[in-house]
């Protein structure tokens, strides 16, 4: 049954619905997502039915009208009675549908707007042009902060509170399969929450126009079962493994002004924190997979891959670039 509906969705969306990473008509990964999915389907169905009814009514009206015109040819002008009842019946019958939709809307709003339980974890997400900064603050020791980028890792089965703000312009935090979107506005903190039911990956996307590369400001939500999440957290908490390679030296000289690698001298704050860079699934805010080839490409032609990105084209010889890429790969 569910499968049949998915197929129908796929057919309807011309192959663009169930399979799409950002679609919210199917593949929900949370309770909120289910509620949103149901109301999206329900309202869409009502919209289609209403449109079809009106289409039939218009067709019938034209038919009746033409027949009357044929029966009484010439340029007869007359005021047939009975027209007002269309308005009374039409509006009268629309009202209960409208009221039902409004009530459904408010019930669903209530369910989605607030988490059912106290959040088990708070994550701070800050929007930047055009990437995401994600911080985990240890509640016991607020100074202990884990900073990562473009990958939001959450445990399954507990509500996660997300504090949203922006470092520059307005962005919008949106993980369609997990919950509703929320703006990230400089100067204020908007709060939203997520709760993933199943472990897995969910794509997130900036939904508010934020300038040049708004299109390519995506991220990945990785939901992990509790033990896996604890392991991830422990690994993230550790500083970067030190090495004494040429790649690290080059990184310190050429990249450290903007990027931080915790445990080394690199402490730049303009770009993403790269402490455990190699463990992340994507680079350039969801644009490329985090593979050696993609890292090479990103460094070699930054501005061609993501025109307008605030990371400048860093001039590196081939050998130097390979060294830096190797160093980045070591940041597990």
């Amino acid at each position: 049954m569910r499968r049949a509906r998915l197929c129908l969705a796929g057919a309807l969306a011309l192959g663009g619905c169930s399979g799409t990473p950002l679609g919210y008509m199917s593949g929900s990964g949370s309770e909120s997502g289910d509620i949103l999915q149901r109301i999206a389907w329900g309202f869409s169905a009502i919209a289609v039915v209403v449109t079809l009814i009106i289409l039939l009514l218009i067709g019938a009206a034209i038919g009746v009208s033409i027949r009357r015109a044929r029966r009484e040819p010439g340029a007869a002008v007359a005021r047939e009675t009975g027209g007002l009842s269309f308005i009374y019946w039409g509006v009268g019958l629309s009202m209960p549908v409208l009221i039902a939709m409004a009530v459904w809307n408010f019930i669903a709003t209530r369910a989605v707007a607030e988490a059912p339980a106290a959040p088990g974890l708070t994550v701070e997400v800050t929007g930047h042009r055009w990437w995401w900064e994600i911080r985990y603050r240890d509640p016991g020791q607020p100074d202990h902060v884990i900073t990562t980028a473009n990958q939001l890792v959450i445990p399954t089965g507990v509500p996660v509170r997300i504090d949203l703000t922006s470092g520059d312009v307005i962005h919008d935090f949106w993980v369609p399969k997990l919950g509703p979107k929320m703006d990230m506005i400089p100067g204020r903190t908007n709060v939203t929450w997520l709760e993933a039911r199943d472990a897995g990956s969910y794509r997130g996307q900036c939904a508010e126009y934020c300038g040049l590369e708004h299109a390519r400001m995506a991220f990945e939500v990785t939901a992990l079962a509790s033990p896996a999440f604890a392991r991830w957290m422990a690994a993230e908490r550790a500083p970067a493994t030190l090495s004494d390679t040429r790649g690290q030296q080059l990184f310190m000289a050429r990249c450290a002004a903007c990027h931080t690698v915790r445990g080394t001298g690199a402490a730049g704050i303009y770009g993403p924190d790269l402490t455990h860079f190699a463990s992340r699934p994507t680079i350039a805010a969801g644009l490329l997979p985090n593979s050696v080839a993609a890292r090479e490409r990103w460094l070699a032609e930054t501005q061609a891959v993501k025109p307008g990105a605030l990371m400048p084209q860093v001039e590196l010889g081939d050998a130097d670039r390979h060294a830096v890429v190797r160093y980045l790969g070591s940041l597990q």
């Binding site: 799409t20 008509m25 218009i58 015109a69 009975g82 007002l84 307005i170 979107k181 126009y209 708004h214």
Partner: protein
């Protein structure tokens, strides 16, 4: 009485030299009086007549022409964007080019096409429908047009310099603050909208006063055509709404150029203030650009259904009610901004409520067809399609009215689909239908019906092919305002279909313009009332004489030309006798509600002043843009001098004048 409508001849297009309506106009135009009025009302020859014309018909047609020109420009921008979006990861455009294009597409369509095109119709039609000789303030009317043109040119001059607005038509701060948008782009936007706002404001004021005073005796408010209700509602709304956006733009310009902090966080400002000010304007504006168009459907569809509109009073009330509620829903553009849910819920509820007056219009139109005798003309096809497209845009609107669902829908292509169904569906389809309907009145010639059917077919199919799949793109999660998308996102096929639809639609529009051009050159002669319509504009010649009515008619009902056949009332509107007003350029003013004759108005003739004032504002705004005090001062000084001339007292006017009555 013209009852000689010849459907077969009409459908066959040209060929016959016989006018569609061969009878003389119902409103008499005796040669001796016509000659006298021609002298009083005629324009000066040469350049002064061209630049100085204050004739509402000339201004109306100029509005239409210019707005269609902007439609073509905005449409071409859309087509370029559709080429870029047809395939994933395309690089036809750079992100900056794409952002300028989508911003200018929005600004152009919403500000330079959608309202001006309706102002054009209303300008042309109001005095003709109301039985007057001109608008209340003819020079203000000309000023409104010239300012619109100047503001449009001002906005577009930035394009060659690569400095076109690139912050979207909504220009959300702080993306548009100087820190993140240091170029001139956003200054062009701010100043351009303030510039255009002057045009909208004076135009709206003119409509409101015209409605109150410039009507034929007996044209009481319960007899107004619905387009008059629509434009009146829109104009009143504009007077309240436009100041919000002009103020917001001024604040933003201050923030960018004078270092104020209205919107800047570091100085204690609020980025959300911009959004509130913008949407307090923006949402009523949406209704301002559809209500007059709905009015055109309400007036013209019944003509092709051979009966009066069903539920006139309900439709008129629904028009006003839509706008009243429309001022209380602006927050539904801000559902995802983190405003408390309880506050948003009220706006969500109000947005549901707005569906009710819309439903009234829809069912009134369907009932009009059902209980009428439809003539399947091109205007009929367009007006009927408006009903369907309006319903699709309406039900998707109800979906977005839902707070919780909008948290998913907003900022996706679903909204793009919704707003185009509303704006193209209600505005453009109604406008094209209205051109077919009123073109004979404007030009004296018919547009070809056969070509018109092709236009309709292509536009209807192209439009739906382009915009129906966008709903699915939105539901599949495609965000708006993206210059490209990845191949792995699953949007590719649908986007290709959308692009094909867009080009089909554009081709339909191209045929439409060809249809106009051919109609103007060689269309069949129309005669005064080719569609056998009921309202006053059909009682005079096509095209109308410069003074509209030689004898001011006396109106007795809502359908002066159908009274005999409807038999609603024993009273008859009088055309063959009435006020003459031939001692100079004068027309009649009536009392606001009942339309009782009140005073004779002396109307101004051709004038350079409106054109000159618009020209003088150009250096003022360019000076402000370029930070050139000298240039701005020259413009301001020139504007001041022109305004002094404008308001200079006239030589003594006649205070008492014997009223001459014809017939």
């Amino acid at each position: 009485m013209s009852t000689s409508f010849d459907e077969a001849a009409l459908a066959s297009g040209d060929g016959s030299s016989r006018p569609v309506d061969p009878s003389p106009p119902l409103s008499p135009n005796p040669p001796d009086i016509a000659q006298r009025l021609e002298v009083a009302w005629g324009e000066s020859p040469g350049l002064k007549g061209w630049f100085g014309s204050v004739d509402h018909k000339v201004i109306g047609i100029r509005y239409l022409f210019t707005a269609f020109l902007f439609l073509v420009v905005g449409g071409c921008e859309a087509l370029v964007m559709r080429i870029q979006l047809a395939r994933p990861d395309a690089t036809v455009l750079t992100p900056e080019q794409y952002n300028q294009l989508f911003s200018m597409h929005g600004v152009t369509m919403i500000f330079l096409y959608a309202l001006p095109i309706l102002s054009g119709f209303s300008n042309f039609l109001w005095p003709l429908m109301l039985g007057s000789r001109d608008m209340a303030f003819p020079r203000l009317n000309a000023l409104s047009y010239w300012l619109f043109l100047a503001a449009g040119i001002f906005l577009y001059l930035s394009f060659p310099f690569g400095a076109a607005p690139d912050g979207g038509w909504f220009a959300y701060v702080p993306n548009t603050a100087s820190e993140f948008s240091p170029g001139l782009n956003i200054d062009v936007y701010c100043l351009g909208l303030i510039f255009l706002g002057i045009s909208t404001t004076v135009g709206s004021a003119n409509f409101v006063v015209t409605l109150l005073r410039m009507r034929a005796p007996g044209m009481s408010i319960n007899r107004l055509p619905i387009i008059v209700w629509g434009t009146l509602t829109a104009s009143v709304a504009n007077l309240f709404a436009v100041p919000a956006v002009s103020l917001a733009c001024l604040f933003l310009w201050f923030d960018r150029n004078l270092g104020t902090h209205f919107f800047e966080v570091s100085g204690g400002g609020q980025p959300l203030l911009w959004q509130h000010l913008f949407w307090i304007f923006g949402h009523p504006w949406v209704y301002a650009i559809v209500l007059p168009a709905m009015g055109m459907v309400s007036d013209a569809l019944p003509v092709h259904c051979r009966r009066p509109l069903v539920g006139y009073t309900l439709v008129a009330m629904a028009t006003v009610a839509t706008m009243v509620v429309g001022f209380g829903v602006w927050l539904h553009h801000m559902f995802a901004t983190g405003v408390p849910t309880l506050a948003l819920s009220f706006f969500s509820a109000a947005s549901f409520v707005i569906a009710i007056p819309s439903a009234v219009s829809v069912f009134a139109w369907i009932a009009t067809i059902w209980t009428g005798r439809a003539r399947i003309t091109v205007p009929f096809l367009f007006f009927t399609s408006v009903i369907l497209l309006f319903v699709i845009g309406g039900v998707s609107g109800v979906m977005t009215a839902s707070l919780v669902l909008d948290w998913q829908l907003t900022d996706t292509y679903f909204i793009v689909a919704h707003l185009h169904y509303v704006l193209i569906g209600i505005n453009l389809f109604a406008v094209v239908g209205a051109v077919y309907h009123w073109f004979p009145k404007m030009s004296g010639r018919m547009m070809d019906e056969r070509l018109g059917r092709w236009v309709f077919g292509l536009m209807f199919i192209g439009f739906n092919l382009a915009f129906l799949p966008m709903h699915w793109l939105g539901l599949a999660g495609m965000p708006r305002r993206v210059w490209t998308y990845g191949a792995d996102m699953g949007f590719s096929t649908t986007n290709m279909i959308v692009t094909i639809g867009a080009f089909l639609f554009a081709f339909g529009l191209l045929l439409f313009f060809i249809n106009i051009w051919r109609g103007a050159r060689a269309g069949r002669v129309a005669g005064p009332n080719p569609w056998d319509g009921p309202t006053l504009e059909w009682a005079i010649a096509s095209p109308p004489p410069v003074y509209n009515f030689a004898v001011i008619p006396l109106v007795a009902s809502r359908h002066p030309l159908w009274e005999d056949r409807l038999g609603d009332t024993d009273e008859r509107s009088l055309f063959a006798e009435g006020f003459l007003l031939d001692q100079g350029k004068e027309t009649l003013a009536v009392t606001p509600l009942d339309g009782e004759p009140d005073v004779i108005l002396k109307m101004p003739g051709d004038s350079w002043l409106p054109f000159a004032l618009s020209i003088s504002l150009m250096p003022l705004f360019v000076g402000l843009l370029m930070h050139s005090v000298a240039l701005a001062a020259i413009g301001a000084l020139a504007a001041l001098i022109i305004l002094i001339l404008w308001f200079a007292p006239h030589p003594a006017t006649v205070q008492d004048e014997a009223v001459r009555v014809y017939g």
